[in-house]
């Protein structure tokens, strides 16, 4: 039996299919991600900490903590980095929600922080592909590329290059 999850992470959505192997190998899973099958020996302790072993990849071991960080988001802590993800697009949506939202329907791309629009890379009517950059906003001396999470057609562009934007300001709508 296979259970499939949509995991949105760093602006990209991945389909992760999990299939438990034979009962004799209770902790072993086939995980299909990005079209590749990886065999994982996974354990989860009562604190929610996961131990992942990859028996067919030299036994590589990962100690990972997954913590709910509110609004349906989880934070995944690897030894060297922490990442936020949304599983199955179940994040509760708020009008002020920053960045691209997942799931069906319109994608409303908003400014994640106050800043200046450096470049607008699309125009209404353009077809966009997943992860395609739409707008670049400069904030705190950093350029932030805001991209579409799914394919679609640009319905509206609400900003011009050079304009200053507040956090949460709607920039682009992709239908």
């Amino acid at each position: 039996m296979t259970v499939t999850f949509e995991v949105e992470l760093n602006g990209r959505s991945r389909t992760v299919a999990i299939e438990r192997r034979a009962p004799a190998e209770a902790d072993r899973f086939h995980v299909i991600i990005d079209g590749r099958v990886r065999v994982v020996d996974a354990r989860r302790d009562s604190d929610g900490r996961l131990s992942l072993l990859f028996p067919e990849e030299g036994g590589t071991s990962y100690d990972v903590a997954v913590a709910a960080s509110g609004r349906g988001e989880v934070t995944i802590h690897l030894p060297t980095a922490s990442l936020r993800a949304v599983v199955n697009g179940r994040r509760a949506r708020r009008p002020s929600d920053a960045g691209a939202t997942a799931g069906e329907g319109e994608q409303r791309i908003a400014a994640p922080m106050p800043g200046r629009v450096v470049r607008v890379l699309v125009a209404p009517g353009d077809e966009v592909s997943p992860r395609q950059p739409l707008v670049i906003v400069e904030a705190m001396k950093m350029e932030n590329e805001l991209s579409a999470s799914r394919a679609g057609r640009v319905k509206d562009v609400r900003v011009r290059e050079g304009s200053s934007v507040e956090a949460g300001k709607l920039l682009v709508i992709v239908g």
Binding site: I33, V64, A67, T80, K141
Partner: protein, 506 residues
């Protein structure tokens, strides 16, 4: 003997540990916001001080002394910060018949005035940074200040006489900017210290911060220790400290230590204190200031000398004579480095990250010491300094100390708030750090142009994270589910369970 610890967080725990090792009872104090804090749980007994703002609790000397009396304490250890360098508090303790674990109030007052401290250093034969001898009070005309600045030669620093921590301090590159800088420094000094007096110092370029820890007993013995280097600073705040300094030779060490001891003797210093120096590229050092308290970075000295400084503070206060071998105190065994772990987001210009620590995994193993003031469930509030722990690594040499710290930083996991752990993983991997090519301006120069995140994420990391997120969701919705249930029915019900679970969570 019973000791009240007038502080919070990691330093309160540190002092209580020393009390316990000496077989002494300790008394903790807390504000409203700290009722659940680790130092309260750790204390033998703990008493309420007042509301969360420090001015209404940890800075209320009258309340602290009242609690000490009620609890039957004999002595007060102030830790660092709060009341640690407050001469009026030290005097109030003395008047109340309580032992203040630190120097006499007269010495705190003397060294608390930066200009008086510079004069004392000069008299004791310690070189000082060229600067104005007398403080410039609020009435001193700008022409007099400008004359002094011209004589010192630009760039100059305008500093608060009562200053510390970079407050009331301005760099002035040209005469045109002097008046504005003086006004700004005065305003800041007035609001931070209640004293608008300022003085000038020549700004020395590319200097390192090197300091000498010392202990002085009440019988005239002063023991200086091997130096600490604290040149890794962000906006005048120390971030990394180490001992010994990678650039100080044995001869230079003896010179710095001897001068520090001479100054301590000259001012009648007792208990633990630190003489701070600036060290220039030619190996010349200049007195900067004296800290009349235990310092945040004291553990690195403890690690390379084996001396428990906090235990000695208590023993000195109760009259014990120092019986340390002075040669051992300045001969480091190995190398120690400390990283100050803050609840700050390094990727957002070190913005404070208050919140609740959901889960905490502290590093351990060979050569690692974690002086922490938090645990899982602790709340980091906006009321106090956001330092949550100090991670100290010891090694037979500097390279091993760095390797152990890097290993420990991989083990360190704080969930719920952002911390500077990823920043330290990055810093300790820098070549400049590895070869100790830095001065006090190094970190600010590097950070100014840096835009990349401190914890870059590789494609492989992303994939592992996505798999972990999915597996986590899988385990949540199928706790102990049989592995053999086939078909679509099971899949549907699994989704329903997931939906229900989500409904419960949100």
């Amino acid at each position: 003997m019973k000791i009240l610890v007038a502080n919070r967080g990691e330093i309160a725990v540190r002092v209580m540990r020393a009390c316990r090792e000496l077989g002494l009872r300790n008394v903790g104090v807390y504000s409203d916001g700290d009722r659940d804090a680790v130092h309260v749980r750790y204390a033998d007994e703990a008493h309420h001080l007042g509301p969360s703002p420090a001015a209404e609790s940890y800075l209320r000397s009258d309340r602290v002394i009242e609690v000490a009396r009620r609890a039957g304490a004999d002595a007060i250890h102030p830790g660092y910060g709060f009341l640690a360098e407050n001469a009026a508090f030290a005097r109030a303790c003395r008047d109340a018949g309580l032992l203040f674990i630190g120097p006499a109030p007269e010495v705190i007052t003397l060294m608390g005035s930066k200009t008086a401290a510079r004069q004392a250093a000069s008299r004791a034969g310690v070189p000082v940074v060229p600067g104005s001898e007398e403080p410039f009070g609020p009435d001193v005309p700008m022409e007099a200040i400008a004359d002094t600045a011209r004589r010192l030669a630009y760039p100059v620093l305008v500093k608060a006489v009562a200053g510390g921590g970079g407050k009331g301090m301005r760099t002035v590159a040209t005469p045109d900017d002097l008046a504005a800088a003086v006004r700004a420094a005065r305003g800041e000094a007035e609001s931070a210290f209640g004293d608008a007096a300022i003085y000038l110092e020549r700004r020395l370029e590319r200097t390192r911060h090197v300091e000498i820890q010392l202990l002085a007993d009440r019988h005239g013995t002063v023991v200086p220790f091997v130096e600490r280097e604290c040149s890794i600073q962000r906006r005048h705040q120390k971030v990394v400290e180490e001992s010994p300094s990678p650039v100080v030779t044995a001869d230079l060490r003896r010179g710095m230590a001897a001068q520090a001891a001479a100054l301590a003797r000259a001012v009648g210093y007792t208990n633990a204190g630190t003489i701070e120096y600036l060290l220039d590229a030619d190996g010349r050092f200049y007195f900067l200031e004296m800290n009349t308290r235990l310092q945040v970075e004291h553990p690195v000295t403890e690690m390379v000398t084996g001396v428990d400084l906090v235990q000695w503070q208590i023993r000195i206060a109760r009259g014990d004579a120092l019986d340390l071998d002075p040669e051992r105190a300045i001969a480091p065994r190995g190398h120690a480095i400390e990283c100050r772990i803050y609840a700050e987001d390094p990727d957002r210009r070190f913005m404070p990250s208050p919140g609740t620590i959901v889960s905490l995994r502290s590093p351990s193993g060979p050569g690692i010491r974690d002086d922490s003031g938090v645990a899982a469930g602790s709340t980091v509030t906006v009321f106090y300094d956001s330092m949550i722990s100090k991670l100290i690594g010891w090694g037979a040499d500097r390279a091993q100390a760095i390797a152990r710290l890097r290993r420990a930083l991989m083990e360190y996991q704080v969930l719920g708030v952002r911390t500077t752990v990823p920043f330290f993983r990055w810093l300790l991997a820098q070549l400049d750090f590895e070869v100790a090519r830095f001065d006090t301006g190094y970190l600010d120069r590097v950070l100014e142009h840096r835009t990349e995140p401190f914890a870059p994420v590789s494609e492989a990391d992303e994939e592992i994270a996505a798999m972990a997120a999915a597996l986590d969701a899988y385990f949540r919705l199928r706790p102990g589910a049989p592995t053999t249930t086939p078909g679509h029915a099971a899949k549907d019900s699994a989704w329903k369970r997931a939906a229900r679970l989500d409904g419960v969570r949100s």
